[in-house]
């Protein structure tokens, strides 16, 4: 218990993002493993040691971006995309603010979707040359690995375990896990929900993180974030715990829900790419670097998240390994 507290303080104190990233094994991969520090300090026996890595360090952009709409470097994956005529982009359609289907227009939109549109813009000079594919949470890694999509931006935490199978862009958003409870609830943090049913999406780091909370809540998996809200409204679960970003979107749909407490994990979001085309990951990072520098990131933040979280902070700084 005391050891777990030590670990929690580490994370809350903002231990290096890399370590926190590694602290979040995915549940769906099956190769799941415990957080190394927790295992060491708390004496728990993890199924298998997590790969240790510098999770948020991505591939450095190489030189200037080619002119949008023009030819891409010959033989590059960007050229393959350009010749296909559209970027195949994976996201969610039920995460309000990030990737959701607008019930009025039927269009899928949000901060994540605009991140994808920026890449389409950089290749084609047209943000609409994009095919949106909805990818279930627990299929994100496999979908990128199989090459069914070029890119995924779907509130996806960068971590070492996922890095074994796929590549990630630099961090484009910094989130942290919180908890959503009924308006009248006395709970103020996740630790107050020991023994209660807490919902998270199948295949998310949030679900895995619940196992490390003490006293332990009863994790309940749902197919999507919105399904968690349905379960919450139907009284099947007592709370929902996932990234603050997602919870804000859920709370906006239910006036009888509130988000409480400080983030108890560190969830750096990255765009997922295949390991087959490192040049594409570098390209994506170059676009992100441009968006950070020219204010695009801030204006997109304000467009989607400003109302919920206030004015845009400084974008998360990129970290590169080579």
């Amino acid at each position: 218990m005391g050891m777990a507290m030590t670990w929690r303080r580490w994370v809350v104190l903002g231990l290096a993002a890399a370590v926190a990233g590694c602290a979040a094994p995915a549940t769906s991969g099956g190769t799941g493993s415990g957080l190394v520090p927790v295992a060491e300090h708390a004496g728990a026996a993890p199924a298998k040691a997590a790969p240790d890595c510098d999770a948020t360090a991505s591939l450095r952009p190489s030189g200037e971006l080619p002119a949008p709409g023009g030819p891409m470097p010959p033989g590059s994956y960007m050229e393959t995309i350009r010749q296909r005529g559209r970027l195949v982009f994976g996201t969610s359609q039920d995460t309000l603010l990030f990737g959701y289907r607008d019930p009025f227009s039927g269009e899928v939109q949000g901060f994540d979707v605009d991140m994808g549109r920026q890449i389409a813009q950089a290749i084609f000079g047209d943000p609409n040359k994009i095919q949106i594919v909805v990818v279930p949470y627990d299929q994100r890694v496999a979908t990128v690995q199989k090459g069914d999509v070029d890119l995924i931006a779907e509130t996806m935490t960068i971590n070492c375990q996922r890095r074994e199978s796929i590549d990630f862009s630099s961090v484009y958003y910094q989130a942290g896990q919180k908890v959503l409870v009924p308006r009248g609830s006395k709970a103020t943090r996740i630790e107050d929900l020991g023994g209660k049913k807490v919902c998270a999406a199948q295949g998310s780091t949030s679900l895995a993180n619940l196992d490390k909370v003490s006293p332990r809540p009863i994790p309940v998996a749902a197919a999507t974030q919105a399904d968690c809200l349905v379960k919450f409204q139907e009284g099947e679960v007592d709370a929902i715990s996932t990234d603050d970003t997602i919870l804000a979107g859920l709370a906006a749909q239910d006036p009888y829900a509130k988000v409480v407490g400080e983030p108890f994990t560190d969830e750096p979001y990255g765009m997922a790419t295949s390991k087959q085309h490192p040049e594409f990951t570098r390209f994506v990072n170059a676009v992100l670097a441009k968006d950070r520098a020219d204010g695009t990131w801030k204006s997109l933040y304000n467009k989607w998240l400003g109302k919920q979280f206030g004015a845009a902070p400084a974008p998360p700084a990129a970290r590169y390994k080579d």
Partner: protein, 450 residues
Amino acid sequence: MSTGVTLDAPSPAAQRGASGWLVRRSAGTTPGRLWTMLGGLLVLTIVAALVGWLAAGAARGGTKRVAGTTEPLLVNAESIYTALADADATAAQAFLSGGLPPAEQTQRYKDDIAQAGGQIAAAAAKAGDAGVAADAISTLTAQLPVYTGLVEAARANNRQGFPVGAAYLAQASALSRSQLLPAAQKLFTQEQSDLADDYHGARATAGAVVAGLLLLLLIGALLVVQSRLYRRTHRVLNLPLVAASVLAVVLFAVFTGVFTTQHSRLGRAQADGSDPVVVLAQARIAALRQRADESLTLVARGADPQYEKDFQDQQAVLGTDQKAGLLDAAARQAGDSGDPVARQRVVDIRSAARGYAQVHQKIREQDGKGQFNDAVRLATSAEPDSAPAVFARLDTALATAITADQRAFEEAAGDAGGGLGVLGWFVPVFGLAIAGLAVLGLRARLREYR
């Protein structure tokens, strides 16, 4: 062992009671033979009449049950199933086109639910307290309000622009497919097998055949008795026995006539009516399921390949393009009926099914090429070559054929039991008359031995 002693003077004991007399006296004597003949004829008449009467009663009750209870219950189960499948397809449609669903779609969903609710209540009133049908009805009764609740929650959230509405609708559809539709299918299957049982009962084949054979035996016995008497007495004819024979022949003719007619009408009701209704109803449900699958595939936007797989599975069940499946079975049934109109109806259904399969193919191609909005437009717009109009042609063709076959059933089954009511009094009255005439005819001969 003929003693011949008492030929001219029957003992007083013999006059006291025929049975005692028969037991004690040899049947070889002339009065003995006469009593045997009389007894045999009476027993045969009574047994034949009784079996015939019971068979007619069973057939009459069974026919009534087929036409008045079991088949309507089958139709009732079919309409529950169809209404629920249609509600699922309509809800998925509404979810796909952005904004509020058109008023007619909302109305269609409401009509479906009202129809399902009413038919479930009707089915509950007729089904017993236990068994497969009762279980299915209790699932339907319990889950239908849950389903409509989820759809209403979806609608309320959708109205406020909350994407969680889509999750409610997905849950509603999942509930329909995991609970409601399987329960409706179970009910439908149960009613189908009940109907098959009742057709069997209504034909009362065993009873009718036995009664017919007994009547033939009676006719034969009457002829034998008359020929014996004729030889012994050298009289020309025993008029009462001749009359009894005529009545027996008439009874046999009427009896077999009524049963043959009933069997042929029931056969027609089944072959041209309820059998095609069952096949076409299944085809309609498979088609509605395909329509929902198509919408749900687009709604999931690549996240859920199971709906397209289900679409293809239903395509195989229908047999739109191959020589096996429901449409082929329907074509065979219509061919057997010899009715060119029925045949044409199935031809129309098949061509409409092919048309819909082509539109679906195009939708999938567009979606696959990344032209999602074009695919949605083709799946939802009111254009005459878009999926809604093309599918409506298929659904209408199926509904028309089901209605026509149902009418064929009602016509054939409605008067199938007609003659059986007449048999109910005809058999006992003729039986009594034959018995009376037999007594009359033989009593005259017995008197001669006093």
